[in-house]
Each structure stands twice: as C-alpha cells, then as structure tokens.
Symmetry: C2
C-alpha cells in the first residue's frame, strides 16, 4: 500500500504555488528547480490540475500558474482526485452485488476495506493546503 510520486509531486507543487503565487504567476520551471521535479512530468500533472479547476494559468513570457481558490478551500482530496491518485482498497465494483472473487456475495473482508477507505478519505478531506502552509512557513528558501 503506497503513495505514488504523482500524488506526492502534485501536493508539493501546489504548496510551492501557494507560497509564491501571491504577486505573479509561477512558472513550472521555477517549481521544477525549487522542488526538484522533472519539468516535463510537472506539465502532465498541471494539465490535470487545470482540468479540475484547481489552478489557472496565463501563457507567454512572465506567464505561469496560480491557484484558482484560496489555500484553505483546496483540500487534499481535491488534489489527489485530480491527478487520479484515488484511494482504492476494495477490488470489487462497489455497486455490484458480486464479490471480488466473482462469487455471488461480497467477500469476508469487503466491509473492512471499505471502512479503511473511509478512514483514509476522511484524513484527506480534513487537510487543506493551508494546513501545510502553516507548518512550513518558516523555511522559505
């Protein structure tokens, strides 16, 4: 059970953005350098963040990205869903009556995993970008 880099990068990048986009838009190049993330990879990630209205952008020289909402309105769950870092604990389709092994009833562990999923999602729904900002405000480069 692990978190992928895509999700981690998305949050790192947005924390960076939240810190530096107050005056001008921030270029991916800057984020790439500051956070040590591949520029090309960042572009893929921001493409999704933009589709999900988490960031907006202006093109051209001096262009860049900026948050489309305030940091306290952006929850972790929004970010991770945007980049397809979904929490997936059950194997079966939830709506279906069938179990993960193809049997007619849900498997003996189904309810457990479902409970776990809720447990994790609750964590993500509570945390906002703002929360991450507080803890790191002192160590601006």
């Amino acid at each position: 059970m692990k978190l992928t880099s895509k999700g981690r990068y998305a949050v790192m990048a947005l924390v960076d953005l939240a810190r530096f986009d107050t005056i001008n838009p921030v270029s991916l190049r800057d984020i790439s350098l500051r956070q040590g993330i591949s520029l090309d990879y960042l572009e893929q990630i921001f493409s999704k963040l933009k589709k999900n209205q988490i960031v907006k952008s202006t093109r051209g020289t001096q262009g860049g990205y900026f948050l489309s909402k305030k940091p306290n309105e952006i929850k972790l769950t929004n970010i991770l869903n945007a980049v397809d870092e979904k929490v997936k604990t059950v194997q079966c389709k939830k709506e279906s009556k069938k179990g993960c092994n193809g049997k007619a009833t849900k498997c003996v562990t189904h309810d457990l995993w479902d409970e776990l999923e809720t447990h994790i999602n609750t964590f993500f729904e509570k945390k906002s970008l703002q929360d991450l900002l507080k803890n790191n405000s002192e160590r601006v480069n």
Copy 2:
C-alpha cells in the same frame, strides 16, 4: 494509493482459517476453493505467514494450516507486515536527513505523509482477526 491482492488474500485466507481450523487443520486447497484464490499463489502467501509465526502447519494427508495464536491476538498489522504489504507514504528514507528529491532538507510534504502513515497504521493495529469474525459469523457456507 491502493491495496494489493496479496494483502487482501492474506486476510481473506486467515479469516477462513479462523473459522474452520477449530477441529482439524485446513488445507490450502479448501481455502482456495472457498475463497476463490489461486492455490499456487496461496502457497506463496502462507510461506510468509508461516515465517512470521502467524500460522503453523502439519504435513501429509489430512494436514493443513492452523492459526498459531487466538484470533483476537492477531492484528491486521501483523498480517500485512508478514506479507510485505507495508504502508509506504514517504519516498525518502526516514532516518536520513535528506529529502525525497535529494535536497538537503525534508520536502514540504514529508510531515503530512508521515502523519498519514501513522493514521493508517493505527487503523491496522486496532483491528484483529476476531473483529472480522464477528461481522461474518452468520454467513458461514
């Protein structure tokens, strides 16, 4: 962020074992049939469960596996660790001072993921096999 089949199967198999090992050892073949898990794959999983003293076995005809402790003494965390389904949220080595991106300091999201890891592990430490048994006791095949 997802749970792998190995972890899911391990728990399913042990719930099965807890239900049926009270009189005789249970063969993997039976578990395979009841739970719909590949026999060969189960063998790999049980090899690890045995190394971690979660189950014991007797060989030969009428042999099989049985739990080495009582269901309420076996926590989810024991099971999942045994089959290497570890929760891994941070990318960096925790002891190291370096961050996940090779920089000198921990990244801006490190503490967040660490907190998430604790959050998930707490869930696994609370739940025991016994808890799963209760919820499913009525639907014995």
